[in-house]
């Protein structure tokens, strides 16, 4: 049995359906992420799990028990808010001890547990500081410690890294992974930042317009997106309008207007005539000079339209014969050299027949 089960949950605000018949099951000890653009319903789901909001239809079960009649303060579920929501009139230690006090734990136990978790988040020397004396990263760690100190069944995190700068965010990601592994509490993380979701999660549910598009492990989500939305939302992807002309056991043959045919990995039930897009990640596209790429089943001529030097890689945007732009990545392993090709150069693009995927409309 899953630890948290969301069954056919719907939540409307007037005419707007914020969450539309969503079902999810989250396992004990999992780092689960709800990922999607703002307004996709991810925060509404989080608020319903926490108990700040109730579903209009459907159920939320914790360890098999319906939570509908349990108010927020009685749920063994804590939240780390986007703004951290630390109590400004309490010290770091008092903030962290708050849930223990509310649970009527004995004083010595409160003291010990507070001290332990302070050590775990490296804030022992800040125990008697007030929130306004802390840096963003420190506030973040206090909020985490406060949420975890009395071992909830579930910790909900609402875009907790959103307010931090890029460098700190990366450090906090690593801290979060370690902390979650050490305490073994199930994390439900909400974010719109796909990089964060990919780096942190065991599994991710990608949401759009109140619906769950796909639930999968990060690598599957990135490598094998099932819908156009997921393919487009996670990372960069090239898309070419295509139509199935042959659906064989080992491959698909696709026709692309003005370009010719593409050999793509097979897709179940993709009948001849099905319309959709052929999608392929930039790092799977190879780029070379005339005469190269011939050994690949998919190869096309194009002209370098644009290029972006990004340090570790360069992104080449190549215009194909039909006007479509395809992005290709080249690692810059030769230092000091920004471009292997210049804008306007005639180049060859190619990719393996088992790279990319066909996504139905």
């Amino acid at each position: 049995m899953a630890q948290l089960e969301i069954r056919n949950v719907t939540r409307r605000f007037g005419d707007f359906v914020a969450v539309n018949d969503v079902s999810l099951s989250i396992e004990a000890g999992e780092f689960f992420t709800l990922l999607g653009p703002s307004g996709c319903g991810k925060t509404t789901i989080l608020r319903m799990i926490a108990g700040f909001d109730l579903p209009d239809a459907g159920q939320i079960l914790l360890d098999g028990k319906d939570l509908a009649d349990t108010p927020a303060e009685k749920r063994p579920i804590h939240t780390v808010f986007q703004s951290y929501a630390l109590f400004p009139h309490m010290t770091v230690a008092q903030n962290i001890a708050f849930p223990l006090r509310m649970a009527r734990r004995p004083a010595t136990e409160i003291e010990n547990m507070t001290r332990e978790i302070l050590e775990q988040v490296y804030l022992t020397d800040k125990a008697s500081a007030y929130p306004h004396e802390l840096s963003g990263g420190q506030k973040q760690r206090v909020a985490l410690a406060r949420g975890l100190v009395n071992r909830p069944r579930l910790l909900l995190l609402d875009e907790p890294l959103g307010a931090l700068d890029a460098k700190l965010r990366e450090e906090m990601q690593i801290d979060l992974i370690n902390l979650q592994r050490d305490v073994g509490v199930t994390f439900v993380f909400v974010t719109h930042a796909q990089v964060e979701a990919l780096a942190l999660s065991h599994r991710i549910a990608v949401m759009d317009q109140g619906k769950v598009e796909q639930v999968d492990e990060p690598a599957k989500l990135y490598g094998l997106p099932k819908t156009r939305f997921v393919a487009d939302f996670i990372g960069h992807i090239n898309q070419l309008e295509a139509q199935v002309v042959e659906s064989a056991h080992g491959h698909l043959r696709l026709a692309v207007d003005g370009l010719g045919e593409i050999i793509a990995p097979p897709l179940k039930d993709a009948a001849v005539g099905t319309k959709g897009v052929f999608a392929i990640r930039p790092e799977q596209v190879r780029i070379g000079v005339h005469g190269e790429m011939e050994e690949l089943k998919n190869h096309f001529s194009g002209v370098v339209h644009n290029l972006l030097y990004r340090g570790e890689v360069s992104v080449y945007k190549v215009e194909l014969a039909n006007g479509a732009i395809i992005e290709a990545l080249l690692p810059n392993s030769a230092p000091g050299r920004a471009e292997l090709f210049k804008v306007g150069d005639a180049v060859k693009l190619g990719w393996r027949h088992d790279a990319g995927m066909f996504l139905r409309d």
Binding site: A50, G51, F52, P71, A72, E73, K74, I77, H78, T79, F81, Q82, S83, A85, L86, F87, P88, H89, F98, P99, M102, A103, R146, G147, N150
Partner: protein
């Protein structure tokens, strides 16, 4: 930037207009003469007379008692009103709480008088004055408490619930400590308003009970004696202390920002 002499002159004139009359009252309270006409010499005599004036002391006692009771009750009710106004965001509620603040005092005085006599059949006296003072103070306390709440992150209160605090515990451990400066400032404000109120008290006092402002008024109907000056000076001192204290507790209310 260099400020021009005109700006200095204008502001000096305005301050003089505001504070010279007060200063004159204070100065003549130390004047060794029955008349407020010319400076004769320094004396504590009028303060001494004041301390032996039974009627004046009785009125002062009444005023302090009324101010204390009415400000305590108004603080409790006004705090609740402020929280409700912040929480429910109902325009009607805000309108109803704030109307007595904006209402002309004379109107409030007359309507309270009619209400006490005709609707409640109350004998005018201490109780009616206290009720009247509570009525006009609630709005002031509510505004200050709401201003305090308005600047706060709403998720703090959700966090308290989330971490296991019941609604009462959330109020007790989180909301109340955070609005306390506003509550204290509101209470001091209510105290100040009560102790120097004349118009509403005049309508609701009846015959038996007198307060300081009423007593001073009855004295100056005969003549402005230096004793009145001395009393006014003391009252001014008390009010100033209250305002300074209030601004200490809720700088955001009186200064515009924290």
């Amino acid at each position: 930037m260099r400020r021009g002499p005109w700006l200095w002159a204008t502001s000096l004139a305005v301050y003089a207009f505001l504070y010279l009359p007060l200063l004159i009252v204070v100065i003549y309270s130390f004047n060794d003469s029955r008349l407020n006409a010319e400076w004769v010499g320094f004396t504590w005599h009028w303060y001494d007379t004041l301390l032996h004036d039974e009627a004046m002391l009785g009125a002062a006692g009444n005023s302090l008692f009324i101010a204390l009771v009415s400000s305590l009750v108004a603080t409790a009710l006004g705090t609740m009103a402020g929280i409700a106004m912040h929480h429910y965001k109902l325009r009607l509620l805000t309108f109803m709480v704030l109307t007595p603040v904006a209402m002309p005092e004379i109107l409030l005085g007359v309507s309270l008088l009619l209400f006490f006599i005709q609707a409640l059949n109350l004998t005018l006296g201490m109780l009616s004055i206290i009720l009247a003072h509570i009525t006009f103070s609630i709005g002031f306390v509510a505004v200050i408490v709401r201003a305090r709440l308005a600047g706060m992150d709403e998720s703090i209160f959700e966090a308290a619930r989330d971490l296991g605090a019941s609604p009462w515990e959330t109020f007790r451990y989180v909301t109340f400590p955070l609005i306390l400066p506003g509550v204290v400032a509101g209470g001091l404000m209510a105290f100040t308003l009560s102790i120097d109120d004349f118009v509403i008290t005049f309508f609701t006092a009846g015959v038996g009970v007198s307060t300081l402002p009423l007593h001073i008024y009855s004295m100056i109907k005969i003549a402005v004696t230096p004793e009145v000056n001395a009393m006014s000076t003391l009252l001014m001192l008390l009010t100033l202390t209250m305002i300074v204290l209030a601004s200490r507790f809720a700088p955001d209310v009186l200064k515009g920002k924290e």
